[in-house]
Every structure is written in C-alpha cells, then in structure tokens.
Amino acid sequence: MRRSSMAWVDVAATSLADGVHHVELDDGRGIALLRRGGQWWALRDVCPHQGARLSGGTMRGRVAPCLPGEEISLNDEEPVLVCPWHGWEFDVVTGRSLADPCRQRVRSYDVKVEAGRVWVQA
C-alpha cells in the first residue's frame, strides 16, 4: 500500500548500468535501485531479516519450480534480488520474500523515467 503523499524524487541518471545500485535520499533513507535494460525497480535498501544492505546483493531470475532430477531453470520474467548476507530472495516488484511472502517483505517503491532521469516515489 503506497501513501499518496509520497513525492517523486530524482535519484539517478538513466545512464546507470544494468544491475543493483545504492542511492540515498535527502532524508537519509537508502534505496536499492535495480535496472535491467528498460526496466527499473526500487526497494528499501535494508533486508528485513538482519539489516544487510540489499544493494550489495545480486539480481537474477527466479528459480522455476521443478522436481528432483529435472533441469533447474531461471525465469527471467520474474527477477529477484538476493540478499548479500543470508541469500534471502525478494521479488523486485512486490518486495516480498519468496520463502515467506506473507510475513517477510521489504518496502518497494514506484519508479519512472522522465527527462533523462530516474525518479522514485518515496
């Protein structure tokens, strides 16, 4: 649930490389800004488990369900951010933990690209 009072904040240039980046808002909040081509996502840069900075993690596709012995594949349509400490995975869109989506969630923010800049509603 997003608060409508949140303002759009200019956080980066669109020239930012693909991957995961840390940006800091004026009020001190850290944001993990993720880019893959024309897609952008933003999450609060604190893991809800033990507080690691998520921007130090990696982004990859969600591992698709399979049975023992079957080929293990990645679903790039569902990118996840992997925490750099304990390896917890978070859906980059919703911020929900894959292992415990109802109880473990990192805040996600809307992102837009406008006038050559990346904006986060935070």
């Binding site: 033990q50 507080g51 130090g56 990696t58 400490w85």
Partner: protein, 350 residues
Amino acid sequence: MALQLIDTDVHNYPASMATLTPYLSRHWQGYVEQSGMKTPAASMYPKVFAAAARRDAWPPNGNQPGSDPDFARRQLLDEYDIDVAILNPLVAASSLHNHDLANALMRAVNEWTAHDWCAADGRWRGSIAVNSRDPEASAREIEHWAQDGRFVQVLLLVRSHAPYGQRQFRPIFRAAAEAGLPVGIHFGGGGDVPITACGWPSYYIEDHTVMSQAFETQLVSLVCEGVFSELPDLRVVLIEGGFAWLPALLWRLDKNWRGLRSEVPWLTELPGDIVRRQVRATTQPMEEPDNPEHLLQILDMIHCDEFLMFSTDYPHWDFDAPDRALPKQIPEVLRRRILADNAAQLYGLG
C-alpha cells in the same frame, strides 16, 4: 596386427571452470559464477557465496574476506562497537597428511594471528590452531602459547577423523586444561570419513544443516570417554553448532546413563550435569523458530544461564548481526549474559 599396448586409465582435467562453463546451462553458469567455485575436488560443496562470505566482506584489495585486519576492524569491530573478538583461523592444517608440514603450518597460523591481528588491535584475541592428527605436537603448541594472554582458547574443527573423546586426543585436552584454556570445537573440518553417519549428502544445504550431528558425536564422545571426568577444570566451547538440539540429546544421554553406566564407570554423575558445568556454546547460527518464544523454552530446557555466548561468524554469509540476531523476547539479564558476561567469565576477559 595384435594390439601392443592398452592404456585403461587416462585422466583428463579442465584447466579451470571456465573450460566447462560454455557447456553449462545459464542456471549453472550463474551458480558457478556466484559461488566462485573451483574445479570440483573430492567431497566438495560449493558454498552458495564465494569463500562462504558475505558479499560485502571482500576487502577493497580483492583478497579473501577476513584477510585484511584493518577492513575487518572497521566492518565488524567499529561498526558494531565490539569490545573483544575472538579469532578462529580455519586453516585446516589437520587435513594435511604430511604431519611435518601440518605442524609447521600450525605454528605459522598462530604466529600470524599474534602478529598480524592481535598486535594490530587490542580487541582481537586469538585461538591456538592445533593439528588434531598430531596430538603430542599440538600439546607442545599449546604450551608454547600458554603464557601469551592474547590467546584465549585452543581450536579444533568438529569434523575429525575420529571422535575427540578417544585417548589418542587426550594430550590436547590435558594441555589445554593445564594452561587454563577452553577448547573451542568449531563448525567444519573433515577427516577421511563421510561427513554424516549415513554417507555423503548431495547438497550444501544438507552439509550445513547436519553439522550438528558432528557436534552431538563429539559431545557424547567427550563425556563418555571420561575426558571431563579426568579433567574437571577443562572447559569446551561448541562454536557455530547451534544449541536447540542439546536438550533432546542430554535427555537421551542421561536416560541411557541410568541403564548403561556400568559400561563407563568413570561417569559418576549425570552427563547433563557435566555438560552444564563444563561446556558452553556460541549463538551463531541462531536457530530461528517461527515463534521466538520457542527459543526461550529451549534455553529454559538447557537450564544454564551461563551456557550461551554471542557470536557473529563474520565474514561468512550466515553472519549474525549483533543488533538483530537475538530475539527481543530474551530477558535483559540473560541478554547481557549472552552478549558479554558469559564470555568474559569463561575467557577471563575484561
């Protein structure tokens, strides 16, 4: 013409994992890249993250996490205001079959701990690495450092080639007790035997999870072989083995002792009482039940407020953050014991 020569055993090796990656699926390419795994060797589990470390624990020079005292000081001691931190160097000298080389390495590791770490910051304390394959040499190594206050315990790895209670290892425990140093038994290691009582599991998640099996074996061995009975001043620390399994183990052992004590007549008291008096454990990796109250119940079942000592396991990936790891439900007095008092008492710190 009849064949003149047949070679029935030829080995080919990839130069590195890069040789193999073009033949791996994208999933396995990513897995290899993330884990930093080398060309597989016998009995090897890639550790999820390179060097089994937090991804942010690589020093700026790119060397192994935990290799740069200054970086570790800033990222751990300064970041969390840690007063004293005990170093457990996991250089597996005991895995070498050349005992001369292993003993030289043992000394080198301890010199390095003393000079490169303890001398650089007064908050570091060392553990004396020993070679469990050569208990006599290990005892001499303990004696060598016994008067150096920078070292506060003796270090063994939990997976060994034989249970530590057996008489071959007694020189290590005698020397430690004589020096007034606890023996820390740490996660990891490996001998010439499978890592579980049922053989080799397939996955790192299994390797990591069932490490407690080795801790249980060592603890029962130390009790039943009479190590604690012979050395009442000896203290043993279970490091990175968890502790939630302990109540069930002690119930089972105490029950068996009542019926089978004639087999081990040197055990003249309940094993559980011996363990509570002479054994301690570190917290990381904290068991994390859905209901944190259950953890408090486990602590109550152990019924020894001196039992637990906090640990982070820096720089490893399963690091426990000092400000986040202990459940809020732990009462303040017990929290203080876990965070500092118990370790200060055991190691004579402060």
